[in-house]
Symmetry: C2
């Protein structure tokens, strides 16, 4: 995994985000580049959270962990400052969502550790290149995400349901999508479910828990991938005194190229 | 692709078949070994049929073509005599099924060419090894096969619908099955459809056109693979004056190992 030059579409997108001119979801943005989910925790919980990710690699594939107190993420790209380079942050206290911000500089502490977790947006360009249409991209919406009844494996205080993203696909495209996304294990890989949403505890496909609803046509199957919003469900269970995450869909754009993280 | 020693389970199974002691389907038999569908045509139609296979590689992946008039298939194994080594044959005249036999020695002609086409039985052991359960194998039934509304690409007189085999699977197993069978392009590879049978023209999943019906449970999806019985549908359209095929499910067992034909 080698970063691109700093003049890339990724660094340009991050400059817009840092300047506060892009404060929404990043689906389709700088689309050659790996995007990441964000979890920032006090160092006292970092070890438990890293074990949670290790035990739940489908929803929580770790792309990078920062040094305590250091807001920079040099292994993910040039001049990435995690305090300003994500479009929209969520601030959590004792497991409650208390604020949404576009910059967290004022909240930074010397004991904070940043975790960047792979995001399914990173395989979307590969799906489009393979001829698999993605409705939320075509409609410039955020992807639909749902809490499921699939349990994660607990670590310390972290536990809770797996969150999934959903893309509606015709059967032949769903089969192709399994093939394409299997090549990207570090950004959730193959789907975890397809077909009947009720089998994984989703009562109403038209009402996602995060992101935007998209229509599922009669000749389509909903296809579900493990999602890096899963830690946010675990945070509501673990109730850490302080935590910052990205807002679902508003990701960190890295300098890594999607093609470089493909397994084959 | 290198044959195994002649003492293998494949040659033992062929000896039983040649002796007339096994005259039914071969699912689960000598299960490490590549199995094949059979089409035998007069040389005058062989070129058209080979082009039909080339144009329809998902249902018709060619494993071997014999020399005209020669009943032996040395590239597929030791001492394979196509006149006796398939459990059950179908004899066709002018596109009509006129007989089923366990030996075709009395019908052999100097102008006959044998085509052996890959069979999905060859990836079933890989599915079982991956923990994907197969109901028809567990119940020792033939696999269920259906004519679809998916057209083949015509060549000479050969045309008609694609035939598919169906295995009912839970969603997670269906996803795993796409991954596993994608490694076996020479024996049909990944599924062509999953979910709603009506989308590919199957009116009643409980009434297969070939093979045995198997139950599809409420928490399962029917998963469909292109099938080497497709030429038999094309033969009823092409109406060759003379043709011999295997009976659906009663395959030629070769000395090739399934693991040797995996693409990855």
């Amino acid at each position: 995994m080698k970063p691109e030059p700093k003049s890339s579409s990724a660094s340009r997108a991050r400059a817009e985000i840092r300047a506060g001119r892009h404060a929404t979801h990043t689906s389709g943005l700088a689309d050659d580049h790996v995007q990441g989910n964000l979890v920032i925790l006090p160092q006292s919980l970092a070890n438990d959270f890293l074990r949670f990710c290790q035990r739940n690699p489908k929803p929580c594939p770790v792309l990078a962990v920062s040094e305590p107190g250091d807001p920079m993420l040099p292994t993910l790209g040039h001049d990435i400052d995690i305090r300003s380079d994500v479009p929209r942050y969520r601030v959590w206290r004792h497991g409650e969502l208390v604020d949404e911000l576009t910059d967290i500089g004022a909240l930074w502490r010397d004991d904070l550790v940043s975790f960047v977790i792979g995001c399914s947006f990173s395989f979307e360009q590969a799906l489009l290149d393979a001829g698999v249409p993605l409705r939320h991209v075509a409609q410039n919406r955020n992807v639909a995400m749902y809490r499921t009844n699939i349990p994660t494996v607990a670590a310390g205080p972290f536990h809770g349901p797996m969150v999934v993203s959903m893309r509606p696909l015709k059967a032949a495209d769903a089969i192709r999508a399994v093939q394409v996304t299997s090549r990207f294990p570090s950004v959730h890989g193959a789907p975890v479910h397809l077909g009947d949403p009720a089998q994984i505890g989703i009562a109403d496909i038209a009402r996602p828990d995060y992101g935007d609803a998209v229509d599922v046509m009669p000749d389509e199957l909903p296809v579900f991938w493990a999602c890096g919003v899963t830690p946010q469900a675990a945070i509501t269970q673990a109730r850490p005194e302080f935590c910052i995450t990205h807002a679902p869909g508003a990701m960190l754009i890295t300098d890594l190229l999607n093609t470089h993280i493909a397994s084959l």
